[in-house]
C-alpha cells in the first residue's frame, strides 16, 4: 500500500489489525484531511492579507514568505 501523500510527508501506517481494504480507506481519509488542511490554509492566508492594514502588507507578506 502506498503511504505517501500525492506531495509531501509520508502518511502513518494504519493500525496493523485492520483488514487491507479498511486500512486503505483510512489512509485515503488521512490524505484527504491533509489536502483539505492545505487548501484551507492557502485560502486563509490569501484572505488574511486583504485584512492587514495597507501600510503593513509588505512587511507581513515578507514574514509570511509570500
Amino acid at each position: 500500500m502506498s503511504t505517501r501523500a500525492r506531495s509531501g510527508p509520508r502518511l502513518p501506517e494504519p493500525p496493523p489489525s485492520l483488514a487491507a481494504p479498511d486500512a486503505e480507506h483510512l489512509s485515503r481519509l488521512v490524505a484527504a484531511a491533509l489536502a483539505d488542511q492545505r487548501r484551507q490554509t492557502a485560502e486563509a492566508v490569501e484572505r488574511a492579507i486583504d485584512h492587514v492594514p495597507r501600510l503593513l502588507r509588505g512587511p507581513v507578506r515578507k514574514v509570511l514568505g509570500i
Binding site: P12, P15, D22, L34, Q40, R47, H51, V60, L64
Partner: protein, 232 residues
C-alpha cells in the same frame, strides 16, 4: 474500561480528527485494539500539525506586527477556525488573551474544536475560567464532545469547575467517555454538587448512554463511585 468501549472511544476521536462528523462511517475501526488506534491517531495529529507548522509559525511572527484588534479581525474574517487554532498556539499568552477577548464565544468554540490543547497549554491557562466555561457550553451545544475530551487534562481546577457548570449531565457522560486524562474524571465528579452525581444513572438510561456511564464508573474511586451509584 472494556476493550470494546476503549476502541469505540478511540474510533470516535479518530473520526473527529479526520473531519468525519458521522463516527458510524468509521465503525470498522472498533474492531482494532484501542492502543493501535491511539498510536495511529497521535501520528495523524502530528502529521497534520507538522505539515502546517511552518505557515503557522510565520503567521505568529506576522501577528507580532499587528495590534490585538487587527489579529482578532483577521482571525474571525479571514483565517477561519482551523488556522486561527494553529495561530493561537504561536501567540504570546498575553497577546492571545487580548485577541480572545475580542472574539465572540461562538467563534471561539469553533476555534477550540480545532485546537490541540497540548500545543496551546500556556494560552489556555491564561484565559479567565468563566470564559473557558462559556466556550465549553457552546462547544457542547454544537456537539463537539470529542474535541472537548482533549481539554479535560489541560484545564486547571477553576476552569474545569466553570465548564462543569455550563454542561448538562448528558454532556458530562459524553465528554468523560472520550476524555484524555481519565485520571481527572474522579476529580470532575467530586466537583458535582446538588445531587448531580446521583442523577447520572438516570440520565444515562434516558439518553442511551449506558456504555458511557459504565466507563465513567470504571474510572472512579470508591467514594465518587458510591455517589454516582446512589442514583442507580
Amino acid at each position: 474500561m472494556s476493550a470494546a468501549l476503549a476502541s469505540r472511544a478511540e474510533a470516535a476521536k479518530l473520526a473527529r480528527l479526520l473531519g468525519q462528523r458521522d463516527a458510524a462511517a468509521l465503525a470498522f475501526l472498533a474492531s482494532a485494539p484501542a492502543d493501535e488506534l491511539r498510536r495511529y491517531r497521535e501520528q495523524v495529529t502530528d502529521l497534520l500539525y507538522d505539515d502546517g507548522a511552518a505557515i503557522a509559525r510565520r503567521a505568529g511572527e506576522a501577528a507580532r506586527l499587528l495590534p490585538p484588534q487587527a489579529i482578532a479581525t483577521i482571525a474571525r474574517d479571514a483565517l477561519g477556525a482551523l488556522l486561527s487554532a494553529r495561530l493561537g498556539g504561536q501567540l504570546r499568552p498575553a497577546t492571545a488573551v487580548q485577541v480572545v477577548a475580542r472574539l465572540d464565544v461562538a467563534y471561539l468554540a469553533e476555534v477550540a474544536a480545532e485546537l490541540d490543547p497540548r500545543r496551546a497549554a500556556d494560552v489556555i491557562a491564561a484565559l479567565p475560567p468563566e470564559l473557558v466555561g462559556d466556550v465549553a457550553g457552546e462547544m457542547a451545544r454544537i456537539g463537539e464532545h470529542v474535541a472537548m475530551g482533549r481539554f479535560v487534562m489541560h484545564l486547571d481546577e477553576a476552569a474545569l469547575a466553570a465548564c462543569v457548570e455550563q454542561l448538562s449531565d448528558e454532556d458530562l457522560l459524553r465528554i468523560a467517555f472520550v476524555a484524555e486524562g481519565k485520571e481527572r474524571i474522579d476529580r470532575l465528579v467530586a466537583g458535582l454538587r446538588d445531587g448531580r452525581a446521583a442523577r447520572l444513572p438516570a440520565c444515562a438510561r434516558r439518553s442511551g448512554l449506558e456504555d458511557e456511564l459504565a466507563d465513567l464508573l470504571d474510572h472512579l474511586g470508591p467514594e465518587q463511585r458510591a455517589r454516582v451509584e446512589a442514583g442507580a
